[in-house]
């Protein structure tokens, strides 16, 4: 019926070149997105072209820091990704479907809203030689001074790998939960089990072969993040030499053009490593597909092991991170073996620097609010085939992109301005917002729009009056996601802001080098508070709207 109605509508429209109008519309709809992405292209050329010189590569090769930097980057990003994949896959296989999986799913958004930098700071407070974990052991081991162990900022990047593994496993669990929420997938589990296979077998033979290809890009995003992460690496990674990403960032911001060129060349290496991995994973997938054995029909008895509380350390770390930050922010004195502060006071909060907080707030509000119309217009009229291009900033290492943005801003003499700062955030805010909204947008009942148009509304007015108000709840969630993404940005703020803007993220990372844990804890908590408040506000407004109109999803 929908088809007939649409055809009737198109016929009823006056005779004008409908197709050409639609094409123009598509490009108009893509305009805001082009404004965000377009200036990046010349910037990428300017930023990366110094790397064409063979001499640059030779110098990079001979650089004393680079082999170790590459080693710690590869270890932290690969180990982090593999562990994150392993933990999330194990939890899903053990607990889906079941009560525990549902409760894990419900707790994920809270953990996901903890920004990377704040998480790294909290984890540092947990696992450092004088951290909470060591204090807990000290209770039994009768330690009076912190052990002489390297548990953070180790030369190989193991502690950074651990941080990435925990943080990203929440993200992968969340992606898995979204896929498993689809009815087609959950019913296949029931079908496979009704044929006599236990849950583990059903996962192995039916769910994983179908889910793995779909999880490829989220996993690549995790790897790309690990390869080019700078904020977490400064807090938890090795220092002399640092990880490659940190080294690249230093080179790129060095006044010496030769070092800048070395930074461009090295950032290309990150890109090459990622591309090699994409290619390798693709090949591995094909190999697995070809060597699938013929189904042998062996049923195994129901496995026990669901009772294993494997999720406890994973989720417990998240809560402990926030708890230890809270304690440090109110601690007056807190000497080593004590599990709790010796004295508490609100001094750190009273003396806290609030400027980063307000900068972060207006920046994140501006970025998410500016992005929303672009996202809506893109999803409604934009060229759908190009969606994949929008996601590129999520699966590419951030460093070359940030360097490109910076080069563009330098050429336009806009570096260090508020406009530049907001624009630099949009490149990551936009794709995350599209990603959040695209699902609800696709499942929107198109007959509602046809009804509105049949009542005489133009496409534009039908969107304003019907479609977008109907989608208000997912739109609120999308705004909150955009806000949170902006809060967590580190590199774009540093580069585009030209050091003139300090956000809670840059402030927390800068403070992590100093010794004052109280001040650091306050800034890290402020970084957590902002996205949580955004998600909380969105959820509250969403619930209120849901109560007014129960048909809204």
């Amino acid at each position: 019926m929908a088809q007939t109605l649409r055809l009737a509508l198109e016929r009823a429209l006056p005779q004008f070149p409908y197709r050409r109008v639609r094409l123009t519309w598509q490009w108009l709809a893509a305009l805001p997105v082009l404004l965000i992405f377009g200036p990046l292209l010349p910037g990428l050329y300017w930023a990366l072209s110094p790397a064409i010189e063979p001499l640059v590569w030779q110098r990079l090769w001979l650089d004393a820091q680079w082999p170790q930097a590459l080693r710690s980057t590869l270890i932290s990003s690969f180990l982090g990704t593999v562990l994150a994949c392993g933990m999330s896959a194990l939890l899903a296989t053990l607990h889906y479907p079941g009560r525990l999986w549902m409760s894990l799913h419900k707790r994920l958004p809270l953990l996901l809203s903890v920004p990377h930098a704040a998480f790294a700071v909290g984890l540092f407070f947990l696992i450092a030689p004088s951290g909470w974990l060591a204090r807990a052991i000290a209770l039994f081991a009768q330690w009076v001074i912190p052990p002489d162990w390297v548990t953070v900022q180790d030369a190989y990047g193991f502690s950074l790998a651990l941080a990435l593994a925990i943080k990203e496993s929440w993200f992968l669990l969340w992606v898995l939960a979204a896929v498993l929420g689809e009815q087609a997938i959950s019913r296949q589990m029931v079908m496979a089990r009704s044929l006599g296979y236990n849950r583990t077998q059903a996962w192995l033979h039916i769910l994983w072969p179908q889910l793995l290809p779909r999880l490829k890009w989220p996993v690549m995003a995790v790897l790309a993040y690990g390869l080019s992460v700078v904020d977490m690496a400064i807090i938890l990674g090795p220092s002399t030499p640092p990880t490659l990403a940190v080294l690249i960032w230093r080179w790129l911001t060095d006044p010496d053009p030769a070092l800048q060129a070395r930074g461009s060349a090295a950032s290309l290496i990150l890109l090459i490593v990622l591309l090699a991995c994409v290619w390798g994973v693709h090949g591995l997938g094909n190999l697995l597909k070809q060597h699938q054995p013929y189904p042998g029909g062996q049923r195994k008895p129901t496995a026990n092991g669901r009772g294993l509380p494997l999720h406890t350390p994973l989720f417990g770390t998240g809560y402990a991170v926030v708890a230890v930050l809270l304690l440090w922010s109110v601690a007056q004195t807190w000497f080593f073996p004590a599990l709790l502060p010796d004295a508490v006071s609100l001094v750190s909060w009273q003396l806290a620097e609030w400027e980063p907080f307000w900068t972060t707030l207006w920046l994140a509000v501006a970025a998410s609010v500016l992005c929303l119309p672009s996202v809506l217009i893109w999803l409604e009229w934009g060229p759908k085939r190009l969606n994949a291009l929008l996601y590129l900033p999520l699966i590419a290492p951030a460093l070359p992109l940030v360097a490109g943005q910076y080069a563009t801003l330098l050429h336009l003499h806009l570096d260090g301005t508020a406009i530049a700062l907001v624009w630099s955030h949009l490149l990551w805010v936009l794709p995350y917002m599209v990603l959040t909204l695209i699902g609800p947008y696709r499942t929107f009942d198109s007959r509602l729009m046809i009804s509105a148009r049949a009542l005489g509304y133009s496409p534009w007015r039908a969107c304003l009056a019907v479609k977008w108000p109907t989608l208000i709840r997912p739109i609120l969630a999308t705004l909150a996601v955009g806000f949170a993404v902006s809060v967590a940005q580190y590199l774009p703020t540093l580069f585009a802001g030209g050091g003139r803007f300090v956000t809670v993220t840059t402030e927390a990372v800068a403070l992590s080098a100093g010794g004052n844990r109280r001040v650091l804890a306050v800034q890290a908590l402020l970084q957590i508070v902002l996205p949580m408040a955004a998600f909380g506000l969105a959820a509250f407004a969403s619930r209120w709207l849901g109560r007014q109109r129960r048909g809204l999803r």
């Binding site: 009560r99 549902m102 019913r187 296949q188 029931v190 079908m191 496979a192 089990r193 009704s194 044929l195 006599g196 296979y197 236990n198 849950r199 059903a202 033979h205 039916i206 072969p209 179908q210 054995p293 013929y294 189904p295 042998g296 029909g297 062996q298 049923r299 008895p301 129901t302």
Partner: protein, 215 residues
């Protein structure tokens, strides 16, 4: 014999049905009808072992002398057929059937032979390596039923299995299903809202019989 004894299912204080008891003999097809939302699917989900966690149920389920309601899905030996064929999209047509075939038939060659024989029996000879997505609705429905039967279930649960097929196909497939069930002598519970789906002379149970008067 499939036996439901004194089943009560409730959801958030509201009782869907109470004291439902039902016995289905080997080869018998009992039809359960009721308006939509009456709890037909909930009943089936309980029998499968996949009742949503928000429901609570009391009562027992028996297959001959085996009590099933406490067993996990995979130990119940209940064959399922839904209105969607639910063929596994990453496997070929033949692999879908081989997946259901019991493990006692060993060796890839022998298993493949058996699967090809089954496909030939249902008029789909040479379809072993086809992608299930390229099959017509009627073909997929037949493969789906054969997959369920190859696993040698002790009982069959059919949830509106004909509702997505068009009229001609529907009559054909219905006859095909009933013939297969007759041949394998499996107790079967059929859930439908269409009176035309009821097999000739079969027992029909209206779910509302357990809903108001007995509560």
């Amino acid at each position: 014999m499939l036996n439901i004894k004194n089943l009560t299912i409730s959801h958030a204080e509201k009782t869907l049905f109470a004291g439902l008891s039902l016995a289905v003999d080997r080869g018998e097809i009992v039809t359960i009808t009721g308006v939509s939302g009456s709890g037909k699917s909930t009943l089936l989900n309980w029998m499968i072992g996949d009742l949503d966690l928000s429901f609570s149920a009391t009562g027992t389920l028996w297959l001959d002398d085996l009590q099933c309601d406490t067993l996990p899905i995979e130990a119940r030996h209940m064959g399922l057929l839904f209105q969607d064929d639910l063929l596994f999209p990453h496997l070929s047509v033949g692999q879908n059937l081989a997946f259901a075939l019991p493990g006692k038939l060993r060796g890839a060659k022998a298993r493949r032979q058996r699967v090809e024989q089954t496909l030939a029996n249902i008029g789909l000879a040479g379809f072993h390596d086809r992608d299930p997505a390229t099959l017509s609705g009627g073909q997929r429905a037949r493969v789906s039923l054969m997959r369920t039967l190859l696993a040698e279930p002790s009982a069959l649960l059919l949830d509106e299995p004909f509702s997505k097929l068009d009229a001609v196909l529907r009559t054909q497939f219905r006859a095909f299903v009933f013939e297969q069930i007759e041949r394998q002598r499996i107790p079967t519970l059929l859930v439908t809202h269409d009176p035309a789906d009821v097999p000739a002379g079969g027992r029909v149970i209206e779910i509302s019989d357990w809903q108001h008067s007995h509560v």
